[in-house]
């Protein structure tokens, strides 16, 4: 039964890779940097594992490792999403839809 579960995870992994390929091949070069920093922030999902490790009932080495992992993942998540937003804010609308007239 254990290995069946593992197989299900592989299943999910493979399908997600395909979804990823489908989504990202369409991203125009202009957005490659924000795509990278945005997806980078998503990879900070390791925060889930970090929280589980840092929140164990007993204080062990796992707690310390977990806490450092929380710091790392949080930098990744917060820094990643904020910096992506900062970049995307700058992407100005095409000139013909306004502003250009001056």
């Amino acid at each position: 039964m254990e290995s069946f579960l593992f197989l299900m995870h592989i299943y999910v992994f493979v399908l997600a890779i395909f979804v990823g390929f489908e989504l990202i091949t369409k991203v125009p070069p202009t957005l490659h940097t924000p795509l990278m920093s945005g997806s980078n922030a998503i990879s900070g999902i390791t925060i889930v594992g970090a929280i589980l490790s840092a929140g164990l009932e007993q204080f062990t080495i796992s707690t310390i490792l977990g806490m450092v992992a929380v710091i790392f993942a949080m930098i990744n998540v917060v820094g990643g999403f904020l910096v992506t937003d900062r970049m995307l804010k700058m992407f100005k609308k095409p000139s013909r839809t306004g502003k250009e007239s001056k």
Partner: protein
């Protein structure tokens, strides 16, 4: 409760997918980023209410410290420093994966911290996932830090060669794999786990160190992919589908960008990772000058302003030199004065211009150049013959016509911007120095080429004031 948590993870995964989907268009990209951030928040909250999470002080401390550093980095970084920033953030993601894998290993080990004498039955799938997390996470962590150092100028941006480079790296990977097998058989052996971790960290340094500055777009994309894969392997360690999905999305994204970058340089990934353009087979005489030595014509700002006074179309080709000189605002001013004169101004962006994918686009967006004026290579390459003046700012190898016809050139076959087909090409550079590929650019000697020497920012500002003075 369990079911609610799982459903939250599912919704969070869906938000990630939509987030990335919306990142695919400039109009929706900001919304996409927000969706992904909400997804992340949901995942964090769901995890906090997990029944296995019982003490919160360490999580809170870590969360506050990490968020503070994250905010600081995000706010302080300049747009020119963006490649470093992305590189560093990648590293933290990878580092977190390594730490979680280690923490999970120690949690599962019944003989730590006190010898309990209990047998340690590490399931084979968890064991494999832990070893892979340590390897990929470790390589991502130190590799990204080296990439950061290179981009920040703390570590040399040159191609670094060291003795026995390839055998050494191969040996280290083999040791990690052997150690992995050993751990599956003797799970209690902490030393081996630490050795695997240590070697992975060293491997990250050794793998990225040889990669030269202009190959950084590939390195950063690849590390981006690794950071995703590290997230996935952590998902396998914990048996958490959301980590697996999110990691796979990022892994796929990184791989696609890596492929695009490699194609744009007409090189294989292996060639880039092995380090150095010069080693790309053509180990013959590195200097292949003299063949097309002609006269180089140089112009000053005033002459150039006069030339630009009577044209109708201009294409600007920015390169890493524009980023180094922080010239994006001056370039925008140039665009504005030219447009005021009724000149059609567009930008041609080579995929590997700069130090990471889309680097030029971000800089020009910062200077408020509308993104529809930035054209990708394949969209603009046919327009060069109908263009009066092309202004190349701090780009070199990506406009070298040798790539089209000179089979002996190391860059032969690389897709380039056909700037030489324009009526006049103006090249702004600080000197006649060679570009990253270490070869002379025959374009500079072409009859329709004009060199405009100077620092990119100064040169463009001067040009703008000369045009205004006309």
């Amino acid at each position: 409760m369990r079911i609610i948590i799982e459903i939250t993870y599912l919704i969070s995964s869906i938000l990630f997918i939509f987030g990335i989907k919306f990142l695919g268009s400039p109009k929706t990209a900001r919304k996409g980023n927000l969706y992904a951030a909400i997804g992340m928040l949901m995942a964090i909250v769901a995890t906090l209410v997990d029944q296995n999470v019982l003490t919160f002080e360490w999580i809170i401390i870590g969360g506050i410290v990490g968020s503070a550093i994250g905010v600081l980095l995000a706010v302080k970084t300049s747009m020119t420093g963006m490649p470093q920033m992305v590189g560093m953030l990648n590293g933290f993601g990878g580092g977190a994966s390594t730490l979680v894998a280690l923490a999970e290993y120690f949690r599962l080990n019944p003989n730590y911290p006190v010898e309990s004498g209990l047998p340690f039955n590490l399931p084979i799938d968890t064991g494999i996932a832990i070893v892979l997390s340590l390897l990929i996470g470790g390589v991502t962590f130190t590799g990204s830090m080296i990439a950061f150092g290179k981009l920040q100028g703390l570590v040399t941006g040159k191609v670094v060669k060291y003795p026995l480079q390839h055998p050494l790296n191969l040996l280290m990977i083999l040791v990690v794999l052997a150690g992995g097998v050993f751990i599956l058989l003797n799970p209690s052996n902490i030393t081996i786990v630490l050795v695997i971790t240590g070697i992975s960290l060293v491997l990250g340094v050794l793998l990225v160190l040889p990669i030269g500055g202009a190959d950084m777009p590939v390195a950063i994309s690849l590390l981006n992919s690794y950071s995703g894969l590290a997230g996935s392997t952590t998902g396998f360690v914990l048996g958490n589908n959301e980590l697996i999905i999110a990691g796979a999305l990022v892994g796929a994204s990184g791989i696609i960008l890596t492929t695009i970058m490699c194609k744009a340089m007409n090189r294989s990934l292996l060639n880039v990772v092995m380090g150095g353009w010069a080693s790309a087979g053509t180990s013959g005489p590195a200097v292949e000058s003299t063949t097309h030595k002609g006269t180089v014509k140089s112009v000053d700002a005033e002459e150039l302003a006069m030339l630009l006074d009577s044209v109708s179309s201009v294409i600007i080709v920015p390169g890493y030199g524009m980023a180094v000189g922080q010239a994006q605002h001056a370039v925008r001013d140039l665009m504005n004065v030219l447009e005021k004169k009724g000149v059609k101004v567009r930008f041609a962006i080579h995929p590997v211009a700069g130090r990471m994918p889309g680097h030029m686009n971000v800089l020009l967006a910062e200077a408020q150049v509308p993104y529809d004026k930035l054209l990708a290579m394949e969209d603009i390459n046919d327009d060069f013959p109908n263009t009066d003046v092309v202004i190349v700012i701090g780009a070199n190898d990506v406009v070298n016509p040798a790539a089209r016809h000179d089979q002996s050139s190391p860059i032969f076959g690389m897709p380039i911007l056909n700037v030489d087909y324009a009526k006049t090409v103006v090249i702004n550079k600080r000197s006649m120095n060679v570009g990253y590929a270490g070869i002379e650019n025959e374009l500079f000697f072409y009859p329709n080429a004009l060199m405009y020497f100077g620092d990119s920012k100064d040169a463009m500002s001067k040009l703008v004031s000369e045009i205004k003075a006309l």
